[in-house]
């Protein structure tokens, strides 16, 4: 194991020093070294049964030397000769160096350190090769064994290697990864635990907030209109979104051409319910712009989503913007508020029109219709057919005819106002004969001259409402976003009133110059109104989906948001995002673009990844080009030759062993036959001692006392063995030339041996 590990590390550490050929075949080279080394070891073991000393070591490398001689001229498998020579050197080293065990003991640590160093600096070792895995298994087992012997046993008898062998076997079968440990699962589990704890705490807080009617300055839907001063972020889950659509869109980056992923956003409005007016205005805008189905799909499609209230207590129905179908527990929802407060577990199903306001096609359409559209009343039937054509749903699924007519009237009021005040500019709105909703959306009470001037400065260069809105939006996004406002900004105002919004806007724009969504929205709404554009506040949530698809998407309290909506002539109510830390519509755009028509004749609206076709070369049937044919045929040659050579090496080795065995047996017989009776008796006594050791299965301490052996011999043979031993003692301790062994003793010894071999002593 040590030699294998050392060779592998040396081979990998060489780093191309021995040529490209060696670099490719280093695993095979090491394997060959090990095989030949093992063969020599087995040979040496067999020879050592017959002969002791250093001779078996030298004899064991003899077949290797013959093999190396044959292989020296083979260029394509020259590494085999090198492998054999190296294995011979290793065998000699093990046989000659007396402190080989110490080398293994301390060398394991050195090799381990080297392997770690190579892996960190060069990332050398991978699991693609089983050799490397096996090398580390050997190394780790040896290191642990050496550690155990040096530091635990402190040089005494080591723990049996069978323990480390079992460890090695298990380590070999356990799969290993090339990548470091991925803690994502654990982190997710931890997050789930933390979330669970958070939910538990939130439940308690939710319960006590309801019971004790506690008001806080934490961010959340319920506190949106009460904030203005310093606010605290809260991570309490207020809503859960269940959506089947993917949370991201795929598109091709126009600059790099790479396939990119962008998270989808979702605006949820509270307190409006089915905002039919907004949807009808949008549909009318599309109709006005003669938008085809294909074009409409570039920036809109129908989506479904389920919302579940968690730690939220409100009467408001919180739904996606542009919802046209709402239900809860099978009952339809029309209004924005219910009679009862909704609590945890309340569910709403919504079908809505998902619109990409960042789409260049929609923006162009908005600008065009806003500037040039006439917005004549379109008949219900006509619009219904149009909507069915574009989205495949009937207009009656959205509005009834009566509702449609009401909406048309309302829109007409706004259009009338815009016609009368086409370039409102500095004109103040006087109210009067217009309806309350118009009046409310243009209320500028509390706004001072500074604010009015700023609004004028920002919008004076634009002639259409949409551009004016974008100009104000871009200006406000420069301001710093912060939940902590300075002392002068620590206001407690009611932003449902124009006075409140004015106060917030002025403090934000001219004093603190930092704030959060309430400040940005108040500023934009007031400036839009001061510019003559009807504006209102929308409140709810702005949720950004994650990149990974999940079972559900929790909406936390810090996602509660307010944003401004402006009434753009001929378009209708359109939302904007002036808050600096939130993404604009362009940041959330789907990047859809029309493509050439496919086989079916329909346009595809998603740019898939460009696929490079492999047009290089014409592979033949089996995938190999003709010039590889020779290489394939030649490849079989070395294997046959290796087999031939291996057999050639093993045969002389086996022959050598047989010869040695024969020689030893013959030598023994001759020695006995030609020996004197004394010598014969000595040989027999040694044989008897060997048989007793084997019989008793104990370690007999050989202190020179034959009585230790006698008492362990079979009882039936003990009398005879005792006589033989006595004769042997006499031989050993008698004076020279005096007592000599009789042939009778020798024959007795021979008979005992025969009886024992036959098992004659067993009853």
């Amino acid at each position: 194991m040590f030699i294998y590990a050392a060779l592998m590390i040396a081979a990998y550490a060489s780093g191309g020093l021995f040529g490209e050929d060696f670099e490719q075949k280093k695993d095979t080279f090491v394997l060959c070294v090990m095989l030949f080394s093992a063969f020599s070891a087995v040979l040496e073991y067999c020879i050592r049964l017959i002969r002791k000393g250093i001779l078996p070591t030298f004899l064991s490398i003899l077949p290797g030397a013959i093999g190396a001689f044959f292989l020296r001229r083979q260029d394509d498998i020259s590494y085999l000769a090198g492998a054999i020579i190296l294995s011979m050197c290793i065998r000699l080293a093990i046989g000659i160096i007396p402190f080989w065990k110490k080398i293994v003991l301390y060398g394991s640590f050195v090799l381990t350190a080297l392997a770690i160093f190579l892996n960190i600096t060069r990332n050398t070792f991978t699991v693609s090769s089983g050799y490397e895995l096996f090398m580390f298994v050997c190394l780790v087992s040896l290191t642990l064994c050496s550690f155990q012997q040096l530091f635990i046993e402190k040089g005494k008898t080591a723990f049996p290697f069978s323990y480390f062998f079992i460890l090695s076997v298990l380590l070999t079968v356990i799969p290993v990864n090339d990548d470091p440990i991925d803690w994502t699962g654990v982190i997710r589990a931890g997050q789930k635990i933390v979330q669970g704890a958070d939910y538990a705490l939130s439940s308690v807080s939710y319960f006590f907030t309801d019971v004790l009617d506690i008001k806080t300055n934490s961010t959340g839907y319920s506190t949106l209109t009460n904030l203005g001063g310093n606010a605290k972020k809260t991570k309490t889950t207020e809503l859960i979104i269940h959506a089947k659509e993917k949370p991201y869109v795929l598109f091709n980056d126009p600059d790099s051409g790479e396939k990119m992923k962008r998270r989808r956003g979702l605006y949820l409005t509270g307190g409006r319910g089915l905002d039919k007016e907004v949807i009808v205005d949008f549909l009318l805008m599309l109709h006005e712009g003669s938008v085809s189905r294909e074009t409409a799909k570039l920036f809109s499609h129908i989506s479904d989503v389920n919302l579940e209230y968690v730690y939220l207590r409100t009467r408001d129905e919180i739904v996606p913007a542009y919802s046209f179908k709402l239900s809860s527990n099978g009952k339809k929802i029309e209004k924005g508020q219910s009679k009862n407060v909704h609590k945890k577990g309340y569910e709403i199903r919504s079908r809505y029109l998902d619109i990409d306001f960042g789409s260049q096609y929609l923006i162009a359409l908005l600008k065009d219709v806003s500037a040039n559209g006439h917005m004549e009343n379109v008949g219900y039937e006509e619009l219904s057919n149009y909507v069915r054509d574009i989205y495949g749903v009937g207009l009656n699924d959205i509005v009834s005819e009566d509702e449609y007519n009401e909406i048309l009237e309302k829109s007409a009021r706004f259009r009338e106002y815009r016609q009368n005040f086409p370039d409102n500019g500095q004109k103040a709105f006087g109210g009067g004969e217009y309806s309350q909703d118009v009046i409310d959306s243009l209320d500028v009470s509390g706004a001072d001259e500074e604010l009015r001037s700023l609004a004028y400065e920002l919008t004076k260069d634009y002639d259409n409402d949409y551009d004016k809105c974008r100009a104000i939006e871009a200006y406000l996004r420069q301001y710093e976003y912060s939940l902590l406002v300075p002392e002068e900004g620590d206001l407690k105002v009611d932003m449902t009133t124009a006075e409140g919004m004015s106060r917030l806007a002025e403090s934000f724009l001219f004093e603190t110059q930092k704030g959060y969504c309430i400040h940005y929205t108040s500023a934009m709404v007031m400036m839009l109104r001061l510019s003559g554009i009807p504006a209102r506040v929308a409140l709810g949530y702005c949720y950004l989906y994650p990149f990974e698809e999940e079972e559900f998407y929790p909406v936390e309290g810090d996602r509660a948001h307010v944003w401004p909506e402006a009434y753009i002539s001929n378009v209708g109510w359109t939302g904007f995002e002036p808050t600096g830390s939130y993404p604009t519509a362009e940041n959330l755009t789907w990047n859809r673009a029309p493509m050439n028509a496919g086989k079916s004749g329909e346009a595809s609206y998603y740019m898939g990844p460009s696929v490079k076709k492999n047009t290089e070369g014409n592979p033949d049937e089996d995938g190999l080009e003709p010039q590889n044919q020779d290489a394939r045929e030649k490849a079989s040659d070395p294997y046959l030759r290796v087999l031939y050579l291996t057999v050639s090496l093993m045969l002389p080795g086996a022959g050598l062993i047989i010869l040695l065995i024969l020689f030893t047996v013959v030598a023994h017989k001759l020695r006995y036959t030609l020996g004197t009776p004394d010598e014969k008796l000595s040989i027999r006594v040694e044989q008897i001692k060997k048989m007793i050791r084997k019989y008793s299965r104990e370690r007999i301490p050989d202190r020179g006392f034959l009585s230790e052996y006698l008492k362990r011999a079979p009882v039936q043979l003990q009398p005879d063995i005792e006589k033989i031993f006595c004769a042997y003692y006499a031989l050993l301790y008698s004076r020279a030339g005096k007592a000599s062994v009789s042939m009778e003793d020798v024959e007795r010894a021979g008979q005992v041996m025969q009886r024992w071999k036959k098992g004659d002593f067993n009853d």
């Binding site: 770690i116 892996n119 960190i120 991978t126 895995l133 635990i152 008898t157 323990y163 298990l170 990864n177």
Partner: protein
Amino acid sequence: MKIVVDKKGLLVYLLILVLSVLFASFYGGPVSFVWLHAILLIFPISVLYIFLSHYFLSLYQEIEVHKLSKKDRHDYRLILENNGILPIHGMTLGLYSDRCDLDEIKESDVIALGVHERREIASSIRCRYAGAYDAGVRYLKFTDPFRILCIWFEVSYSFRALVSPRITDIAERSLDIENIVNSTGLKSMHLFEDSSGSDLRNYLPGDQMSKINWKVSARFSELMTRLPDRMEKKTVNIILQAVNVPEHDQDLELLKKRDYFLEFAVSAAWHFGEQGVPVSLIYPAGEIKEALVDSHDTFLEFFNEVTNGLFYRSEEEFKKLNEMTDFERNGRNASDTWILIREDREPGEGYCCII
């Protein structure tokens, strides 16, 4: 089975494990993962190895004699045999060192056995207390290679020593009462005492002076001696009230009490025997038995019974002995002499009392 964990070793192991996990968190591949897996597998493999070693280990204990004598040395042999394919390393023995001493075997001796190896360890054993109890090797302790874990296994079949009590003079001090012998005691069939009879004969040289009937001698003007009549000897009754504790619950304190109790009982029997007073002993040996000790043979019989162990076969036997004690204590049979020897005396009471 008991598992003992070395805290220092465990801390070092945990530190190495944490470092391995950290290494594997930054670097993949066999370098880090093989090492991490090896560290994780150390404990399971160690436990498996230990259990296998214990499963395949056979242990035999032998003492040269069937019954031992208290505090005498006897030859003891311990045979360990490894029948498995895994060598056993670092095994130590846990001994019943509180009640016996083994001269050649120490708890600190580390034993290693190769595959299919058999080892015989000879020693001498000396039991400190009289009674019947387990002696010799109590536990086998195995450790893992890194000495973090040590698992103790109780020996399946312990060696049960029967240790004979010594006959000493501890009873004499307590039982030095002559007037416990009264005329209404039990009679022995074997021992007889001489009492002065009514028959007379002429004085012969050697007759005791106390046997001379002076009145009659004066009448006849020559010395006349009384001829003795054989009369059965009076006996003493002793109840040996042993505790009713199962053997497996008997701790060292109880062994010491039992030792003293047995020694007292046999010494008492011997004491009366030397005085020529027959003794009736009532003791629990499974059931409640009654033995009359009035000769050497009967004493030996009683001695052997006591050495085999005193125990109650059931709760009823214990109640029976207690009832007997109470009956005699209440003096129902006031003419007899009853001595109670308690194994578990009450505070303030002696080991024996006359009831």
